[in-house]
Symmetry: D3
Subunit: 217 residues, 6 copies
């Protein structure tokens, strides 16, 4: 089983972090992680997303050559997912879609906790377009930029925990989805601070991609 994580942005450091989480989630598989050199250093809003697509599509021949059994687009905005799906030789998942599917399969009402407000409409649009809005109770911006989130620390965890409390008390959510690849490393700590079930898209995508690749579809 060989899973390929494609990071749509050009930050190698972020690629490494994502691959580490995926390996922990699925130790039995070989996890590759490629960076989208030439793309913006971070995907902040739809402009960055558009700029990342040509680079993603250009990696598909190499992905096939590398023998990837499934590809995961490692950005919560699921940048270019539609285009990649139709052009790829193997299943392509997004970490956003994987998180939404996990909550839906478990029948859990969920809220997404994300970074800046600019990401809210993109995520909401993805949820609605793919039909995962039945159980969605809200998309909540924490006001924290991606890099701050990734750095972690007490203040960041407290801010995210505050938002999860709102998700539970105001949205009546049963699960909190971590709405940024950079939050994956904080999952264990965040789960300690809430009674909600916590869903991380990187972990979910690893498990679901393996499940799909092993089905004889």
């Amino acid at each position: 089983m060989k899973l390929l994580y494609l990071n749509p942005n050009s930050s190698v450091h972020m690629t490494d972090g994502i691959v580490a989480v995926a390996r922990q989630a699925l130790p039995e598989a070989e996890i590759l992680g490629w960076t989208n050199h030439g793309a913006p250093p971070a995907i902040q809003g739809p402009e960055d997303g558009a700029a990342a697509i040509p680079g993603l599509l250009a990696q598909l021949p190499a992905a096939r050559e590398a023998g990837a059994d499934a590809i995961v687009i490692a950005c919560f905005d699921d940048v270019g997912l539609d285009q990649m799906r139709v052009a790829s030789h193997c299943p392509v998942l997004g970490i956003g879609q994987s998180a939404f599917a996990t909550a839906t399969l478990l029948g859990l009402r969920y809220s997404v906790i994300t970074t800046l407000a600019v990401s809210v409409p993109v995520i909401e649009g993805n949820i609605r377009a793919s039909g995962y809005d039945t159980l969605c109770r809200g998309v909540r911006p924490s006001g924290l930029p991606v890099l701050t989130v990734e750095a972690g620390g007490e203040e960041v965890c407290q801010r995210l925990a505050d938002e999860m409390r709102q998700a539970r008390d105001h949205d009546q959510a049963q699960a909190a989805i971590l709405g940024c690849a950079g939050m994956a490393g904080l999952k264990a700590e965040l789960a300690r601070r809430t009674t909600l079930q916590v869903i991380d898209g990187v972990e979910a995508s690893a498990r679901l991609a393996a499940a799909l690749a092993q089905m004889a579809v």
Copy 2:
């Protein structure tokens, strides 16, 4: 990993068939299969579904005692799924939901091939209520009763293959979902007769249930 398949009807023979398919799909797990004694011998329409629910709910204490990591309701109608989810100690999946989720995660337009017309509204209702209608192109009755389907044979395969052809040519589907637990055993043969991707809910539920149970949600 211990998966428990609950067959909502009272047919032990059907339980055995489902367990066999699940074991083949997920050989690394322990697969249990329980029959809903006292329920109708087959779930044909919503009346049978209603009659099966008390028996399903009554099995939950034993399921917890048996240490089930996940439960699958082994009927394509996903009988009692909402009630079971809220009352269970572990994740509960339906084979219908598992099949729809698989197609959605793969981004494939799908049609469901089922048995009698009486099942169509139940399945359509489930697809719409859970938000999986975005990619659904139709629910097609084959006109074959459950027992006939389960018995298999050339005539049955031909009838189902005809319907898959309609799904491809008329519905523009990319995948055919086998809309009855009794079709699981025919999957390999049916896949040979079509260019569509073929999704079986029993196999899908085994893979997805394992993936969900292994996530630290």
Copy 3:
């Protein structure tokens, strides 16, 4: 005309209160009220709802024997309505559905005033699933537990009146639906305190059940 109110919980006191309201609403009919002995003492959230269903279904043979012309499930969550409808010999209504239908037939935008926040997702889900969301402007928890509401008194009325004011000023609602069977007895008092039209599901269900039973459908 014989209407049977089935209280899904095991509180005889609540059954009596509901029957009294229904008799006042429809003095020309015979009103029966049965309690779901063995069920939880109150339906608080979906777990209680699931636990109540087997007992409800078990009462259907006696309901037929008693000659019920229509059955009303006397819980605003409409517990087990789908299952009861398909298994019953006569029309089955819920008091939630009856209230939503009344507002919809009158063309009134409505908000629901309910008890605790835990009930909000259940009620919202029912409204959406049955198509009554076109005119729904919100489901508002008052923060009052069922028993407190039932006990009534000045403080309770004031709290509910506050919430109705919000429904009018913030939601632009034209009608307030009393979102708990325990509020039925307070309707006259609450109507005095608001310019909104006030709809009570117990009263609505009595009138609508009689209307449906008298149609030659």
Copy 4:
């Protein structure tokens, strides 16, 4: 209890027929029937509907003076319902809406059997706009003009029965809604020819209007 039926077209004969059906459905009430003199002789398509609205609105002062407890717009297209509702002193129902609400309250999947194809989009639009599409399985034109339907006879009944058979076998409907005020008189005969439950909007509107007027909303 005084119910006022407003026939949006100028055919006095049709008004008389509708009033007769309503009286039979609700013998305990006083039923008035007014004709929209100056309007088209029949409402065939949205142009006729638009032409009928000013005349309907102009009758509201007299309706108030006559002491109507509820008004029913006696055209299956529910012509001018939104405008009448906001301008009237009492509840205003449409016979289309009343039929859809009846099926929804009974939890029955339904198809509408109507006259000419030109009416299909109007009826479909009304169903969708008011949220009654959850259980709707189709709107079927019989190809019979209104006057032919009203005249009745063996051929007409056979044509409508054929369409009801399609509704049952193809749409998987459980109920057939008679989609034209002119079919009300044929209900008993049509019910004899089908296993579907048959819902007539004139009868339904009489019963529901009385129920609503008697509620203390």
Copy 5:
């Protein structure tokens, strides 16, 4: 090119203001403006809307005689649009619909800034019924009555600018739609005070009506 603006209310002063804005937006066309004498002096809520419809319909013969190439209903509530469309000899646009279509064609998420809260449900209903809700992020009442808005001045502009800031920061809108014909004259001033794109329905309707009339549809 001859465009006819029909003001549904009886205020000649408002008609003049609307015509002036339309002429500025489309200097190459002949712009007519007619007042609905006999209608309420302002359309405040759905009752006024209902009262305006007969007068609007009555103007259609004269509109045809005057040789109008397109008609615009000059009220943001799009009063009587459905009825006028089917009865008119030429295209009929509403200024609300024109504004929503502009935002949709540009792919901009938008919020509507309107006058009093009483107008919110009407506008929301129109957006939903016509399918323009995909990009709509909210309908925001400013609390300012129509006449106050029309009078303009610093305080009014500040209030509207405040609401546009909320639209940007809270709703994540990219465009603000001016939700009242009386705001058309303030557009330039309001655009100076925001980074959002500002859409005025009077201007949009002039441009779009001309575009449609010139197509050979």
Copy 6:
């Protein structure tokens, strides 16, 4: 006014034809037409669409330099529209979206007549995702390949006219949308053969793009 038509495929001949139609529709503007060299010779299905996107995005700097007031993506599938919109300096329209918007603004129920069945899901998906499905009655494949359509001739016109008749009689459509850029040249001939209103996206996009570019949004 300078409008830039970007043909997503590499066929120069098709670019020329589109530009000719656009010039006729909007003689007062300067119309540019660029070909997507390096892309597939025709956009047949979503794979071709994905392959065309990088080339489209790469043309944006030159488009800005050329002073385009608006860009039109000249493929009925609206390939890459979302990505182009966020990355462009000026409004970007698609010819599919322009046609749907025209029908919606005119309040006309419409069916789309397209080429091969493989295009149906793409077009249906676009209609639903952008909210233009309220008036859509169907997307009908003619079975004719793009090149055959472009070549025109009696047989092609007859096939398309047949499908328009179905749209009118079966779908109850009021307008037929020509669902392929290659049909633009046949519009006059097709309009002669039907009582439906005929909408061509190339013409519509020219008129609407000019209208939008001239608004001071």
